[in-house]
């Protein structure tokens, strides 16, 4: 085989105490599609950010085209020939195709932009988009086409390595196939493509070689034809469970919540399940599988299109919105503390009582002393570290902020609690405490749903687990009934059968 175009050896990256990359090796050859595979948090994004110049490595060597290479910033990486195409597209919708493609690299004469319609047109033709005119504004194009524009931008700027981060997560089957045709054309031109995806059957279809990352290090690499999907999954999950899941006995009782054929845009798709008193149900899935969307539909933060939600046995007749859900005893912990979960500028006390102000007020007037007292009570109960409960939430660390969000749920006292990524971005100590609180809540007879991208925590804390793949929910089974392999298989292919890893049918999507 020819010389590697891009070679990564023993790269380390630390963010404070977090060791995100622990010695990654990666070889990318010209004219190949290289799949980069790993669970959420395995270090894929960090590695790509190092290669595209967004982060600088702490240790290790990178060589590009035979020369040592450390990108100073994204601009430098792009000019050197490494193009990154992100999951969230970065096009300016009001500019034309040509303007977007040449943005930041315009040819100019006396300060006036020289349009490069010719080069842009040729590239669009190469990508099989002859019908597109360079002067069309990008905002009028469908999402799949916009992605091709991003790729065209890379080609016009002479990229030699194109990194695609989850390129198909928002594409339909047809658009995915169109993208694959483009990828094959680029490969034929000798461009190296790094393909990051959770969807293993796609990886198998398009890639030549693979590298699996696990816990920040390379777990294996090789040729795609020589490996099966089950072996890749094994490589992704092969790690040990640490004992950080305190258990409290809890009894599973009567059915309290039933969801039938719930659908929304774009997710969920016909989701049905039942939840019982004292049950902790985990919802696993990879990013973009539609887990949050499903639960937000049930709580009323997102609109459902069809389907029924039953509390005990009664169908919910009122409009489903957060206000009514809280009234009927469903509460929701947001995955995003900064943008949604907490009002950062408000005090700890105000955040704790916000969903149940009735409890500390009479006739519309708030009893500030009572509010302080209950907030202090919950602070002590949750062991939240803060000076005063009148301090703003923004003064707390991530873990302590999450404890304030938990305090609010406990203070409100709903019987059904949905927790969306309850341990995201918090330190290990706080994580363990939160697992303990989830168990305690179940032992008090509350029914809980825990969404997580981190499988070990669901296995450690939940009674039952359901897995989501592109908006569909697997049958909910007890933790013992699932194997890690089956969970990963469903999350990446939408089926648990190990032999047949077919392309998902249109009806599933």
């Amino acid at each position: 085989m020819s010389e590697a175009l891009l070679q990564v050896r023993g790269v380390h990256k630390r963010f404070g105490p977090v060791h995100a990359l622990k010695g990654v090796d990666l070889d990318i050859y010209p004219g190949e599609v290289h799949a980069l595979i790993g669970e959420n948090g395995a270090g894929k994004s960090t590695l790509m950010k190092v290669l595209s110049g967004a982060h600088r490595p702490d240790e290790g060597e990178i060589t590009f085209a035979g020369k040592p290479f450390v990108p100073e910033n994204p601009q430098h990486a792009r000019e050197s020939g490494i193009a990154m195409i992100y999951q969230e597209l970065t096009l300016a919708p009001h500019l034309t195709i040509e303007e977007n493609i040449t943005l930041g690299m315009e040819d100019s004469r006396y300060g006036f932009v020289q349009h490069r319609d010719q080069a842009v047109q040729e590239t669009l033709e190469l990508l099989g988009q002859k019908s597109l005119h360079p002067r069309t504004s990008v905002g009028s194009l469908p999402i799949g086409t916009r992605q091709l524009i991003e790729i065209a931008r890379a080609i016009v700027n002479n990229a030699r390595v194109v990194i695609l981060d989850e390129p198909t997560s928002s594409l339909s089957v047809e658009n995915t196939q169109a993208l694959f045709r483009v990828i094959r054309k680029l490969r034929a031109k000798g461009i190296a493509l790094v393909y990051i995806s959770h969807f293993l059957e796609e990886v198998q279809q398009i890639s030549d070689r693979y590298t699996v990352l696990r816990d920040g290090a390379t777990a294996g690499s090789g040729l795609i034809p020589e490996i099966t999907i089950p072996s890749i999954i094994k490589m992704m999950v092969g790690r040990s469970l640490t004992d950080m899941y305190p258990k409290t006995d809890h009894i599973i009782g009567e059915k309290v919540l039933a969801v039938e054929n719930l659908s929304g845009t774009p997710w969920p798709k016909n989701v049905s399940f039942t939840l019982r008193q004292g049950e902790i149900m985990g919802i696993f899935g990879l990013v973009g599988a539609g887990r949050s969307e499903t639960m937000r539909c049930i709580f009323g933060l997102d609109e459902k299109i069809s389907g029924e939600v039953y509390l005990k046995d009664r169908s919910i007749k009122h409009r489903i919105n957060p206000k009514n859900s809280l009234k009927t005893g469903i509460d929701f912990l947001s995955e995003d503390r900064g943008k949604e979960g907490l009002a950062q500028r408000m005090s700890i006390a105000a955040n704790t009582t916000l969903s149940a102000l009735r409890k500390t007020s009479t006739k519309g007037f708030i009893n500030l002393i009572a509010e302080q007292l209950v907030s202090q009570k919950w602070r002590d109960f949750m062991k939240t570290k803060c000076h005063r409960v009148t301090d703003p939430v923004s003064s707390l660390s991530g873990g302590n902020q999450q404890k304030v969000a938990f305090s609010r749920i406990l203070h409100h006292g709903s019987e059904i609690v949905i927790l969306d990524e309850p341990t995201r971005g918090i330190d290990v100590g706080s994580k363990s405490e939160i697992y303990g609180h989830i168990q305690k809540m179940a032992s008090k007879g509350k029914a809980l749903i825990v969404i997580s991208s981190y499988l070990p925590e669901l296995q450690g804390v939940c009674d039952t687990i359901g897995v989501m793949y592109r908006g569909i929910l697997s049958p909910v089974k007890t933790v013992e009934e699932w194997t890690e392999h089956d969970i990963m298989a469903f999350a990446t292919t939408g089926t648990t059968s190990q032999e047949e890893t077919t392309i998902p049918q249109l009806s599933d999507l």
């Binding site: 009234k327 929701f332 949604e340 408000m346 916000l354 708030i366 923004s394």
Partner: protein, 334 residues
């Protein structure tokens, strides 16, 4: 992330006001020593406070809107509309004719006041409704309303001043009230009472808490079951009602309804809130701070007049202070 405690945030407008007073005392003592006595006199204080009433009361309403993360550009036009409405009602109820024996009973004056406040509350309701239900950003919704309300004021007034017989309202804005025990004009006391009411509402009521919550993080408010749209509408309606009261005070000063009055007043009103510690990002502001902000604006104007500074210099100083106040707000949140 360090942040000044709330009390220190409240201190800023207070310190700012004291600073401005001190600065002008010194400047006047140096350059215009003859005016110093006038500047520091009780009479000047009475005048200053009276002049702050209109901006002050309207700014209290604006404080609610800005804390909730919104803005209302239509308040200047609303003040003009209120003067026209109150004057028209009084004119309608007046007996006799212009020039001779032209009188009006207090009942009609009270009706006029009620109509003006209600009318502006309705304008505020529409502002809130349009921005909450049709998801039009408040800046645009109220920019449109600024024109609509001004147009309505001109229309109701037949495009001219609406004259009225003298009535008790005029005494509201008399800097030296007839009842000398009041010390300040009745309008000043009305402003003070309203400020206390707004301050208590913001601090001690569920409504006030929700106002802060919506401005601080609308998504969190929704997550916590707050009907964000409903409260938005209520907040804008209250802002309208308070602006209506400010408009009645404007009428009291003018003694007539004038549809071309108070052009650009919305900028003074917004400036008072911002100088008083209100953040256009929402979630911050206070009634007391706003009043201090309104006073600071007036002390500045008054001091400049005493110094004989041309009005264009006043504009430059005023503009700079607004930007500095917003800059301090940024620094607080770094």
């Amino acid at each position: 992330m360090k942040k000044l405690p709330l009390s220190a945030g409240m201190m800023l407008p207070f310190v700012g006001l004291l600073f401005v007073i001190l600065l002008f005392t010194i400047l006047i003592a140096i350059f215009e020593p003859d005016s110093l006595e006038a500047f520091l006199s009780v009479r000047n204080l009475q005048t200053l406070l009276m002049q702050s009433v209109i901006v002050g009361i309207a700014a209290l309403g604006m404080t609610l809107v800005i804390i909730s993360g919104g803005i209302d550009l239509s308040v200047g036009s609303m003040v003009a509309l209120a003067t026209v409405v109150v004057a028209s009602v009084i004119d309608f109820g007046a007996s006799g004719s212009y020039g001779t024996e032209w009188t009006v009973t207090p009942v009609w004056v009270l009706l006029g006041i009620g109509a003006a406040i209600l009318c502006c509350a309705l304008v505020g309701f529409i502002n809130g409704f349009v921005s909450a239900k049709f998801k039009i950003v408040p800046f645009i919704a109220t920019l449109g309303m600024m024109q609509v309300a001004r147009g309505c004021a001109k229309w109701f007034a037949g495009n001219e001043m609406v004259r009225t017989p003298d009535n008790f309202l005029q005494s509201f804005m008399d800097p030296q009230p007839a009842q000398s025990w009041l010390i300040f004009a009745p309008g000043v006391w009305i402003m003070a009472i309203l400020a206390i009411v707004v301050a208590i509402t913001l601090r001690y009521t569920v409504f006030g808490r929700y106002t802060y919550a919506i401005g601080s993080n609308e998504n969190t408010a929704r997550l916590c079951g707050i009907s964000v749209g409903k409260f938005r509408i209520l907040i804008y309606s209250l802002c309208g009602a308070l602006t209506g009261i400010a408009g009645v005070m404007q009428y009291a000063t003018l003694g007539s309804g004038n549809p071309t009055e108070a052009v650009g007043l919305e900028l003074d009103i917004i400036a008072a809130v911002v100088i008083g510690g209100g953040s256009l990002d929402g979630g911050e502001g206070s009634a007391l701070g706003t009043l201090l902000g309104a006073l600071m604006l007036l002390v500045l104007r008054n001091g400049c007049v005493m110094l004989g500074v041309p009005s264009y210099v006043q504009n430059i100083i005023l503009g700079s202070i607004i930007v500095i106040a917003a800059g301090i707000d940024r620094l607080k949140h770094r």
